[in-house]
């Protein structure tokens, strides 16, 4: 026991100790394991306290020093790779340490993010969603990583990004919803870059996305639909929106979702459906579907969510859509769409 005493450890020694001991957690036997594990957790806690404590006092560079030590000694790798072997309390401290280090800057540089981007670490974190024990810890770290454009680009440009489409549907609810919030963060944090990604990877992305919209799981379906609406209505994704609303299978899907049992899903579907109708330049296939269903759509929309009488915007949009559909002509031009908006004169 005295061998592993942490009382006199300097930050430098603490980092070195953790770097040495954490990998041995994996292979150590039961009794020994317990001993090391306890000590590791204790040291992690001390390290975390030092890292956070020093942030308060300006000018004290202890935190910066520890942070530099962690990055240069490749401790991030040790921590993330062995996360599953560290005990519950220790894991929480690992998350706190990693997230703190990720936030630190030297001038305009973010050394930790750069270090992670040079390695495979980000994918280790994504894989973490497959292990119940550490899934939520990894999620927290991933969302911190999502603040850094380099790391988001790294994820989006890798096939392993599509793993998220599985993770958001796992049966454990808290993991699935954690994965979804990470997924959303990745797609909404850096709008311009994500727009480029969506344009380039349109087909693979939306093929996968389709499966979420057709999911058996109510929560997945609803969340995915909501996010879809947000993405399409975001001006940065203008090109993507135009492409999406020109594909008849997407319109069919939305029309089916409009008729779902759940009112919430109907409502979210409405916000995607409206873009198809409002589009001033509807391609022929879209126009054909709308024309074929004109009477039924008008009828349906008139009775649609009549209880939302308070929601002015919704009602304005709804009556606008009804009017649009009624006035549909096989060849149509110059119908401009405005959300309850008077033209400036």
């Amino acid at each position: 026991m005295p061998l592993f005493s942490s009382k006199s450890k300097t930050p430098h020694e603490a980092v070195r100790y953790l770097n040495d001991m954490i990998p041995s957690l994996k292979n150590s036997k039961e009794k020994e394991h317990k001993k090391i594990s306890e000590e590791v957790t204790k040291t992690l806690h001390i390290l975390k306290t030092q890292l956070y404590g020093s942030q308060e006092q300006e000018g004290s560079d202890l935190g910066a020093q520890i942070s530099a030590e962690i990055v240069t000694s490749d401790m991030l790798h040790v921590l993330i790779e062995n996360l599953a072997y560290i005990d519950f309390e220790g894991r929480k401290d690992v998350v706190a340490i990693v997230n703190n280090v990720l936030r630190r800057q030297i001038g305009v540089r973010t050394p930790a993010a750069e270090a992670i981007s040079r390695s495979d670490l980000i994918f280790l974190l994504i894989n973490g969603y497959e292990n119940q024990e550490i899934a939520l810890n990894c999620g927290m770290m991933l969302r911190e990583c999502a603040r850094h454009l380099v790391l988001v680009t790294q994820i989006l440009n890798n096939a392993r990004f599509y793993k998220f489409f599985e993770y958001v549907e796992v049966s454990t609810f808290d993991i699935a919803s954690d994965a979804f919030s990470t997924f959303k963060e990745l797609l909404t944090r850096h709008k311009v870059d994500v727009a480029t990604f969506l344009e380039q990877q349109y087909d693979p992305f939306f093929t996968h996305y389709q499966s979420l919209l057709n999911s058996e799981n109510y929560v997945t379906r609803r969340q995915a639909l909501k996010l879809l609406g947000e993405l399409l209505l975001d001006r940065f994704n203008f090109t993507v929106m135009n492409r999406y609303i020109s594909q008849p299978e997407n319109l069919k899907l939305m029309m089916n979702l409009l008729r779902e049992k759940s009112k919430n899903i109907q409502f979210e579907a409405f916000h995607v459906f409206k873009i198809f109708v409002a589009n001033p330049n509807k391609p022929k296939p879209i126009m054909d579907i709308l024309l074929r269903n004109r009477e039924r759509l008008v009828d349906f929309l008139t009775k649609f969510h009549t209880e939302r009488s308070e929601d002015e915007q919704f009602n304005d949009e709804k009556s606008y859509l009804i009017k649009q559909i009624k006035e549909l002509k096989p060849v149509e031009e110059n119908v401009s769409y405005q959300i309850k908006e008077e033209n400036m004169s």
Binding site: E58, Q105, G107, V108, L149, K191, V192, L233, D234, R235, F236, F238, I275, A278, N279, P280, N281, E312, Q313, S336, Y337, Q338, I339, K340, E341, E342, M344
Partner: protein, 448 residues
């Protein structure tokens, strides 16, 4: 003149006399002062009027704009602090596009939800009074007011950086929703008590159509000093997003240097200077910052930075050391001691719940106070240390034993203890006046 001031004077004798008196004063400069005996003066403290607006309690005035006044509110259901913009329809009609601008602002705000954009919570119409109330998030101050409170009219770099980053976040959100603000300036940036910046006043903002291919705009109604060359030159069509970038650039220039890139005695001179494109960056501005400013104030809108470029600029990314003391939100001019800008609804709350100084009220209050005394004067652990296990039936027992020596039996003590017995110290407090007892009530609330 005189006729106007005293209408109908020519008809009545009495009034003629009054007029004589008036002239007498005017001629001699001899003022007649009525004496009133001091015992005849009945001083009645003005009763505070409590005003409600729906479920909101109305507080003091926060500011005044061209459209109407802004007052503080307290939501009596959620206890949230709010602000209300009171718009008089009659006034609105006089302002060009006034009503239209307000209607547009409301419809835009309703669909926006971002931490750096002011949130519209409710709109109340009062047809009878011809007034409209826009209830919004409460913000403690605006950047302009903070700048005006310090002689150098600028923020230390790190503080300006904090606000600027939030401005860009809010602006990026607005642009992502297809909204061009068109009037970004320190006067339209509010700050909450926890240093969160909120973009406000979308009165002249423009929403692009969902299917508009470009961000083309044709009108600009913002503040002249913040307008880009394309507007100063009177171009017909220009990029809307770049207008906001320019005015954010002027804002950044202003909050870091205390100056404006372009000046002019009048709007013509100003626009002439802007269209010339000659400006200088004051000394003392770091190279990094001046590079960003140049990018944002680029004359040609096509080479002017995009929000994306601003985000990637080193000055934006950099963590600036907190070297100088921050500029704090100044106290309100009406109350220079109130550095924290406490709620202005408090007088109304008092008036509502404590009424005027009638005796009945005082008693009520004291009772509340009495109950709160034991628990806050005597921490629990002290009782435990003083008493012997099973004797403790009530917290007030040991209290009683210590305070009054004439209590004999423990049972009696317990009985009496249940009824709060005023001790001498307390009675004094009670007589001293309300304000004191109120204070202690608040502190006891905090403790429990």
């Amino acid at each position: 003149m005189d006729q106007e001031e005293f209408p109908g004077t020519s008809n009545e004798d009495q009034n003629a006399a009054a007029m004589d008196m008036f002239y007498g004063i005017a001629d001699d400069g001899d003022l007649v002062i009525h004496r009133v005996e001091s015992d005849q003066v009945v001083y009645k403290p003005q009763r505070h009027k409590v005003k409600m607006l729906g479920k909101y309690l109305v507080g003091g005035m926060l500011g005044e704009g061209s459209y109407g006044t802004v007052k503080e509110l307290l939501d009596t259901e959620s206890l949230c602090r709010r602000a209300v913009k009171i718009l008089k329809k009659r006034k609105l009609r006089k302002i060009p596009n006034g009503e239209q601008n307000v209607r547009r602002e409301i419809s835009l705000l309703k669909r926006l939800q971002h931490r750096n954009v002011i949130q519209l919570i409710d709109v109340i119409h009062n047809e009878e009074k011809q007034k409209m109330y826009m209830i919004m998030e409460y913000c403690a101050s605006e950047l302009q007011e903070m700048l005006d409170s310090v002689p150098e009219k600028k923020f230390p770099v790190w503080q300006a950086h904090g606000y600027f980053c939030q401005l860009i976040n809010g602006l990026e959100y607005l642009h992502s929703q297809g909204i061009i603000h068109k009037d970004i300036k320190p006067g339209n940036l509010l700050v909450t008590n926890d240093e969160c910046l909120k973009i406000t006043d979308l009165g002249v903002a423009e929403a692009l159509g969902q299917f508009a291919r470009t961000d083309e705009c044709r009108t600009g109604q913002g503040s002249p000093a913040f307008q880009p060359p394309e507007i100063a030159n009177g171009q017909d069509v220009f990029s809307g997003f770049k207008v906001d970038v320019w005015s954010s650039g002027v804002t950044l220039y202003n909050i870091t240097t205390g100056k404006y890139p372009y000046d002019g005695d009048n709007i013509y001179k100003l626009f002439e200077n802007i269209s010339k494109g000659d400006y200088s960056i004051p000394e003392g501005v770091s190279e990094m910052l001046s590079d960003l400013l140049k990018g944002m104030l680029a004359y040609d809108a096509t080479v002017r930075y995009t929000l994306q470029q601003i985000r990637q600029h080193p000055w934006f990314i950099k963590q600036h050391p907190r070297v100088f003391a921050s500029v704090k939100i100044p106290p309100r001019p009406e109350d220079p001691d109130d550095v924290l800008r406490t709620m202005t609804v408090i007088p109304s709350l008092h008036a509502m719940h404590y009424g005027d100084d009638s005796e009945e009220d005082e008693e009520d209050e004291d009772q509340i106070h009495e109950f709160s005394v034991p628990c806050h004067d005597e921490p629990n652990d002290e009782h435990v240390s003083l008493s012997f296990g099973n004797e403790v039936r009530d917290h007030t027992v040991p209290f009683e034993q210590r305070q009054s020596h004439d209590v004999v039996g423990e049972d009696d003590g317990a009985l009496q203890g249940a009824v709060p017995v005023p001790n001498s110290d307390y009675e004094m407090k009670g007589k001293k006046g309300k304000s004191r007892s109120r204070k202690s009530k608040f502190s006891s609330c905090k403790q429990s």
